[in-house]
Amino acid sequence: MVSSRQSTNVGTVSFGRVRRIWKKYDLAIVGGVFVMLILFCTIFAPLLTPYDPTVNDIKVRLQGPSLLHPFGTDQFGRDLLARVLYGGRPILLVSFLSVATALALGIAVGMSAAYWGGWLDSLLMRLMDVLLSFPSVLLAILIVAALGPGLSNVMVAITVSMIPIFSRLVRSVVVTLVNEDYVAAAKALGAVNARVIIRHIFPNMIPAIIIQASALLAVAIGTATALNFLGLGVEPPTPDWGLMVSDGQKLIFDAPHVPLFPGLVITLTVLSVNYIGDGLRDRLDPRLRGQG
């Protein structure tokens, strides 16, 4: 006789388990699906739209959504859907690269400060404190203002504003871990510093880093959008969500679709990344695991 439980198996995963996962991580799953969709659309944009996002067609300017132009057209007659599809590329590229770079540098700084301590710890952490004393968006604006506008400088600005956050996190984790018995034992057995760090310390940092990185990815997207909104990032006519909202804001009453669609996509993207981060935190944070 087949039990009712066995009759609901989907492959090796029970329907009940799927339902439990969904109940616990519904928003994270929705967020994940949306982010995957956005990534797919921005990467495969040339295949998804026949329109060149940078070519003007004044005859069809400021048209509302239609079958020919599902998101309508902007003030230059450019297809808005095409610009939204292509417009995610600068922001997402800069955001992912910034977070990855800040993570790498933050690990290096935090690990060095915590592992070796002493004057190196003091020096590095005081430098991080100085950077942290600025609001992150303001710091990014100051850096771009000093370096000049451009996407690469936006990436530098966001990276610099995030290094202190990662370095302090890493330092606090490593300071705890270096005092663990197994680390002391490894050292006593003659393990070199590199082996101790790679084999014993780093693996235990991963959950915390993943949680922080996912949270900061949303911040990076927001900051990159803000800098492009201010005209400090990409140069027109390159499509970019932030710049599209900026150029479209005075059309909010007369052609609301122009700022609305890129604004909506920005909001949903940041929200989705935040939900993913919340889900990862619920899954990986030992203080929260088992709750809910």
């Binding site: 003007n56 003030q75 230059f76 140069e235 027109p236 005075k250 059309l251 007369d254």
Partner: protein, 518 residues
């Protein structure tokens, strides 16, 4: 018995109707949105049009400029005579006029007010940009109060624009008592004899004016005028639509057709009197090359620019003078035109390898970014590589003042209705550097001689011929590429009546004649 009763009833009804008509016109507050408000109202220093709008309503000079007829009209001077040789102006000052602080308007006050910019001993003397501000003091041999009600101005050279120059804000007459009392703080405590009195000034934000009950021209209809700076066009539009603002010239052009059909807002389109142009530096390569400047000129599709960048709110250009300016010559339309083949010919003639890299600077507000994108597309279609340099207003004007720009988009309004106003500031070697370094052009001296000739004569036929030559020379040397003449729309709430359209379009509006329909 019935007849006297009817008579009394008729009188009562008539009086009521008169009162009703009077009540319709008097009172109320007009809230004006501006794109900026300076930190000071010191008229000798340029701090943007927001400050000018305040000064134009609080201040008054010897002369007023009529933007509709183009004529100078009496202000605080009730009359004047000009000597045969055009050098001596004798102004009769209006009697019984008081400044807004109650002190008397006198000939001495006039002399002091007009002389303070060059008198370092004056309590209110302040160094600053545009200190003399075009009212002609550089050409004055003497200015004195010849008696209690007469001021005599003697020029070094005849200047047919001198009367209009005295209508500029820097020539408004300030109370001597206020200058003594406030000194260099006169910029935040401005006192003159205009139709409105400054009640409160919040630097950089807002000015509140109240009706001057003792204005010699009669108390204005409005009780109060509030001029408020908003950060951008979108917020101005939102304020206009919500009723927070009841008059502005700074709402986005994209909203014109919708608001014209609205029940709550009036939109009137002003005359074509604001030049839009690209300044091309004669100092910085590659724009120091005439063929490059001509290539830029012919590369630009002005019809598309006007339609897509300005929502149709402009007329096609000719040269430096617009159709409303005295001396306008339409012949330049054949040169200020779209001809990409000719643009490519000039690029080839320049001998420079393509793509030719140029930097195009523009202000980050209003329609400038849209225009810049359209211009970039046009220039890149003929062989340029354009780097867009988007700057906030302060940085843009700072760099323009330093002569640090290569190509830059700008505008020049008819600040006073005389052609010399535009011509001198854009082409005279006495206004060097700036966007174009025009003093470096091969025929700069010839241009200057024409400019001097244009002000030296008051003969209309002579001036017409001179300004025709000036416009032709401007197109031959092409320090400015003309994009169009703005026809600025003027937005107001439906109950606002009596707006001076031409003056508002020029950015020089005095609202003494405006009233609110009840």
């Amino acid at each position: 018995m019935v007849y006297p009763l009817l008579k009394r009833l008729l009188v009562v009804i008539s009086l009521s109707l008169c009162w009703a008509a009077f009540a319709q016109e008097r009172g109320g507050t007009l809230v004006v949105a501006t794109e900026s408000m300076g930190d000071t109202l010191e008229p000798g220093i340029w701090t943007g049009f927001g400050s000018i709008h305040v000064l134009d309503n609080v201040g008054e000079g010897l002369v007023k400029s009529d933007f509709t007829s183009g004529d100078p009209t009496p202000g605080l001077a009730e009359s004047w005579t000009i000597s045969e040789d055009g050098l001596t102006y004798t102004f009769k000052i209006r009697q019984g006029v008081k400044f807004q602080d109650g002190s008397d308007l006198t000939a001495e006050a006039v002399v002091r007010s007009l002389s303070r910019y060059t008198n370092a001993e004056d309590a209110s003397y302040t160094e600053g940009f545009y200190m003399q501000s075009g009212h002609g003091a550089g050409n004055w041999a003497s200015l004195e109060a010849t008696d209690a009600s007469t001021v005599t101005l003697v020029l070094n050279q005849p200047d047919s624009t001198q009367l209009h120059r005295l209508s500029r804000p820097s020539a408004y007459i300030i109370s001597s008592a206020a200058l003594d009392s406030f000194g260099t703080d006169i910029g935040t405590n401005y006192v003159s004899a205009g139709p409105f009195k400054l009640e409160k000034f919040v630097p950089g934000q807002e000015a509140t004016l109240v009706a001057n009950e003792d204005y010699y021209g009669g108390r204005p209809y409005l009780d109060q005028l509030v001029l408020r700076a908003y950060p951008d066009e979108a917020s101005i539009l939102a304020a206009l639509e919500s009723g927070e603002v009841t008059f502005t010239t700074y709402a986005p052009f994209t909203s014109v057709s919708r608001l014209q059909a609205s029940d709550t807002t009036n939109v009137e389109v002003g005359p074509a009197l604001v030049d839009l142009f690209i300044g091309a530096s004669a100092k910085n390569a590659p724009t120091d090359n005439l063929d490059i400047r001509l290539a830029v000129n012919y590369a630009i599709n002005r019809e598309t620019l006007i339609l897509a960048g300005l929502d149709g709110m402009a007329a096609m250009p000719s040269s430096i003078l617009s159709p409303t300016d005295f001396g306008y010559d339409p012949a330049g339309e054949a040169i200020s035109t779209y001809n990409p083949d000719l643009a490519k010919e000039h690029i080839a003639k320049s001998g420079l390898p393509t793509p030719i890299t140029v930097d195009l600077a523009f202000e980050s507000n209003r329609f400038w970014p849209t225009l810049a994108e359209l211009i970039k597309a046009d220039l890149e279609a003929v062989g340029f590589q354009v780097n867009l340099d988007r700057l906030d207003s302060g940085t843009f004007w700072g760099k323009a003042g330093e002569g640090a720009l290569q190509l830059s988009i700008n505008q020049r309004s008819t600040f006073v209705p005389d052609p010399n106003d535009k011509v001198a500031i854009l082409h005279s070697v006495s206004s060097p550097g700036g966007q174009t370094w025009h003093e470096l052009l091969p025929r700069a001296k010839e241009m200057d001689a024409l400019i001097d000739a244009g002000v030296a004569t008051s003969d209309e036929a002579e001036r017409l011929e001179i300004y025709k030559q000036i416009q032709a020379l401007a197109l031959e040397e092409m320090p400015y590429i003309y994009l169009g003449y703005l026809t600025p729309p003027v937005f107001s709430a439906k109950n606002v009546q009596g707006i001076p359209l031409a003056a508002a379009a020029a950015g020089r509006f005095t609202l003494e004649g405006v009233w609110l329909e009840q």
